[in-house]
Subunit: 226 residues, 8 copies
């Protein structure tokens, strides 16, 4: 980025952790290299941990040059770095309809784990083979919150919603073709769910689902502590 120093305009929200209980997270997509290096360094220094989403392998190399113990997961495209281990508490179930939804699921799961939630993965249990999902009912019922991830017709959330007593965070994905319109079909399905207890985040927004699910998981484990 030449001609203007974008960094000087970035208003780092250092009060965020105090206000919301969560540190600021870096959405890496489209960020310039210099900016990325700086912001990761600053956040890591401030919080002793940092999370970046939608990162390319190239961006990870840049981050690694300033944070030696940074790690990268290719599937979820998440960068994490942490000074000290964190104990995982509670239980969030992350479910997908198909294997193509796994990248979004891993973004959700690893986000939740980064923030300190324990995660159960239940993948490839779409409604066209309903027995696969039903065989997991017991595992589902152990969770404090469930993330239901599906593209195409996005029916997974409704079926899960009818099986459990806890909130279901639905994530439409852009998996599909033709009239899936890049996830719009799944988004509409989920927003119109006839099941109760379902709320929806943006298309492919695994991070957002992991964040909300962790808020709920922490409330269930610790109650409202702030």
């Amino acid at each position: 980025m030449s001609g203007i120093d974008a960094l000087k305009f970035a208003e780092l929200d250092t009060e965020r952790k105090k206000r919301t209980g969560f540190p600021e997270v870096v959405f890496c997509q489209g960020k310039k290299d210099d900016f990325l290096k700086d912001i990761f360094a600053k956040l890591y220094a401030a919080n002793g941990e940092v999370l970046g989403t939608r990162a390319t392998a190239e961006q990870f190399e840049i981050v690694k040059s300033v944070i030696a113990n940074a790690e990268y997961d290719e599937v979820s495209r998440i960068i994490t770095a942490r000074e000290n281990e964190k104990k995982l508490v509670g239980n969030i179930a992350v479910c997908t309809a198909g294997t193509a939804d796994i990248p979004v699921a891993e973004e959700a799961a690893r986000t939740a784990e980064f923030f300190g939630s324990f995660v159960s993965r239940i993948y490839d249990v779409g409604v066209s083979g309903i027995h696969r999902l039903l065989s997991k009912t017991e595992i589902l019922n152990k969770a404090n919150c469930i993330i239901a991830i599906a593209g195409m017709e996005g029916a997974l959330a409704s079926v899960i919603g009818g099986l459990v007593s806890v909130p279901v965070i639905a994530v439409p994905t852009s998996v599909g073709y033709g009239a899936s319109f890049e996830g719009l079909s799944a988004l509409l399905t989920m927003i119109n769910s006839c099941a109760n207890g379902i709320s929806v985040v943006n298309i492919d927004n695994g991070f957002g689902a992991g964040y909300v699910a962790t808020q709920i998981n922490f409330l269930a484990e610790r109650g409202k502590t702030k």
Copy 2:
């Protein structure tokens, strides 16, 4: 209708039964009274039976004035008249997600019955209480063809598609509110179904589903005979 005689422009398709195996059907909605009276009389005279869809109670009274044994069903808004009883053959299962979808289901069921198909009704088995549907698996598996009718998120067709070996005709309904956009959400869900064996007709088009299902039911019972 004054100033122009619409009836003289109606091109009655008297060859249709020979060409397609099915007599012409009257879509009553918006039809003028005189036109309705005439067209019902002509089709009944030609075929000894007649089917009208989307009819109001007022329109039924008009039809009854020319065809004494005409019958009307308030739920499906269907008018039928028939000289001789017809034996019902085969088996079509008509399923709905909720009770609000029943008018569309009855349009489908009664259309299929009018043409000579036996119909099994399986209503209010939406996916948010999946056990209700699963308890009907045996009945579903006796059908030659299944009609799956649902509004809101429209996920019923996908779940049924995964349970059976016969074609599923999916009918989105305009049941719902907000982002259901008058049935668009259910239509997209069904068109994007991850299950195989599903094809879709227009929103609220119970008649169309009953027609296709009968074509399939007859093929299964009689083979291709034409």
Copy 3:
């Protein structure tokens, strides 16, 4: 409803309370009178309490004829009946952008109260006069969950999301005109929120928000108990 007995097709989900922790609720809109009478009577007999949403004053009279102590709220269009008082626990903050959003807010608030949640109402605090919302920060921070309700541009959820540490359930409303497209604009705004911790329910779906918020409120107060 003549010609077919819709009631015999209604598959009452008597196991729902056991499975999900919540009794079945009646969506009154478009329901026939006889059906309404029966289903309210059956659910009240089974659970000792019953909730109906989107009811007209006429429908309330019908329900009252079978459940003498039923009550109706004109703003939220909610019917409730209950044998014994219920203690309200926890804290859910229900916020609206304008006064026109209050009917949806009351549907959310009264749903949450019916299920047993304590509710704080914070109305008419839209973002175009941001000081109104900021003056309520302390109250907001006492809640286990926040419901943010807004039509038109729907920006309320994002601002609240940045102020608190608990989940925000966003409800777009159909309040507005022109390019609000019956709530689509607010829905898109909320789904695209740049703030974390926000998930979204259908347009005008106050009931859905009250349900999810209660699930979260109970988890925060009681932990996962099932």
Copy 4:
């Protein structure tokens, strides 16, 4: 795919053939190489035959390395492998409006042939030169089911629907430009068809059409046997 083993999450639906009469099929698009190799090998071992759709030439090379007798068709982008020859029964007519629709048509035709249906190809008979289609009426009338494939304005299905007595499966294609909106125009045309006997699958979903048509073709040839 690093960091997570997607394969271990794939829930192979080994009961599918028993439940639906058809083996599981591989949608190759976007599948990782290792996963592709494994899933093809497993399905071929289990069923003695395997079908893959939306495959690239590169993916075929990978499949060939584990299944020596696998074959690839560039037009339809279909991979097939089979231990024993299969006798083709019945008759499905696959029709296209233009030559640009042929890839989708071949996906439909080869899917139907893989499952055991005999296929008649009738290509480039779009409605702007209606005599081309009319000259094929005799061939159309020999089929148990017809697949009508068209992009742009998608009118082919309606015209065919008026000529025959068997079900027409309509496939909108993304062929076109401008206001065809990647197939949306053809999809809407087909869903709104004024002809009877038409049901619709997703844009470019040749596989889905071939699957449904085979279900119907088998019912016509064998009746309901399950």
Copy 5:
């Protein structure tokens, strides 16, 4: 209309006939009574003839009070008044897919006749019974211009476009339901027509089609004379 005199703001385009060859026409829908009375009177005085479209029977009574020889057609909702007979020249064929499209067709036909074109009406020749249209080929081929009017899937224009050598003006209608989206489906079909020689006017715009067709008809009969 109180508080402001709308009439004083209406900029009557008295030069229009000189500039475009056609007098100004009154779109009656939503016009206030006083304004209607005035504008009809002024235009009739100026041109010795006047045409009003989208008029109600009530509006006609108002016009009749100032122009005694005004006539009204209920089907097309057109008001006309004329001092002297006009000889009709050339030939425009106005075709509809169904009988429900006739009101739009009559708006087109009577507009063309008002301006001086001879019109051939060919109604109810939709593509689902293609023989009906084909039997009119000879009549179609006598026209200087063809107007093709259809709702639902709107395929009529494409088939006609392939049969004739003259321009086809396509008019989508709002006839249909569900995914016809008030004529959007037919509009997209017609804009994407694979046939040549087709151009499209607004949904239900019979007047617009009659106007363009007359321009073409006059060019064919008289050549460019201005």
Copy 6:
């Protein structure tokens, strides 16, 4: 409004005039009678003047019962009340494409006049008779700001934008039918204008345009004074 006192939730923004230079305005549409009475009374008491938009004649009677000198304009549906006369300064030109756009134009004009701007009305100068607009060029060039109001294809703003040196506020209206989609077409036209100096407000938002235009008019007359 029973069951809840909406008034107690209305957060009157008494600081607004100090903050923004303009008093709070009442959007009357859908407001309950009691609420209307109270809010008009309070705002009139506080500011010595009050403006209400989108009011019915019935609502005006209610307002009049508490503010004796309130006035109502049927065309714009605006209620105004004022203790002392206000001198009108500067010059805003309000232009419409057709006479059907006048109600929106009057909402804009009367809003601007209420706040203290002088307004020039230039109505029915749509682009299909371009000479009408060109003949007003001199008047246009005297304005500090221009409001361009049009439905249907909404081209007026672009043409005006090319003729003047001052900002043009474009207001799409819902005037039109068919593919005008309730003003969406005009909105898109104006947002995509190839002319410079154009910015757009919501469909039919005459009030919004009058407000912005007044802000600009005051800046031009008084400079930035706050």
Copy 7:
């Protein structure tokens, strides 16, 4: 294209010239090389002239290898070949709003010239500088038909429609960005034009406009001769 011989399925419409007065034209986009070579050769042999649209420079080289005197225009992406010179008759005015619309305009102009029409080019006369268009009024008034080409807000057609007495064929282009939605904005503008005499073809469909304009131009020059 391997595995299937697409060519054998192409149904060359050799009767088209007799039926419609125009020879078949090749839409080159996406056509395979072998197919292109064959179809150009066959059509040239049959008609002594051939027109190809949407061709790449590479495709031209292929065509040139079989038709030595083929010519290519880079701007319009049109290939033409012709045995004998053709006299150009009549007059079609092709107008564009901006210079970016010229490729579509040249497709229209060269199509019209290929078929035998004389063309006047009037480019870069968009409505934001209305004097540019007005200065061409005399040239416009010499044409038998006008093609108005514009992207972005597409207002050009309406202004021209108000200036002339002959039909205006409007072509929306995909020129623009943001809310132009690839030409949808211009399409809606043109379909909703308040001017009379305007009909619309698909986005970027210069060929279609050139074809219709030629039909009209020939009618004006020769009358209806078939």
Copy 8:
């Protein structure tokens, strides 16, 4: 550009500066090299200054070859050249929600500066951390006009609108993913803003905002001078 000389069709609007007070600006995107060179040279010669938007670095090299003192800014992609320094007057505040919106903001800011406005940059003050924006209230209140730039949910404009007394020009950006639909979500948010004083330009149209803001800024500083 071969075959046709686009340059000869470009109608340079040499009167524009006189008519609108601003010289013609070059939208570089998609312009051919030769055309670019010529048009920059001509405009620079005529006006002694020239502004180009949406330019690539390659295009800048071409411009530099004819205007030696041309300058390029990579962030805004703006080319400027000027013979004499210009004094910047007044005050426009350019605000962004995030750092990803800065390229659009710089296009707006540099456009305003080129025309002679003084600009205050206030970046990364999105509503999810509302204190960041509130801390700038004093700076905001010094401006004659504010440009509010945001993608995703686009709520920034509404909050600013409630804080200030001057016009806010809102610019939606295509920043976001999923249901942001390339900026449509932010556009709808801004058009539906509940705050007063907001008008909207096209998605990513920084130039347009800078232009309007300068018109307003000059009116505030100089009054209406023309």
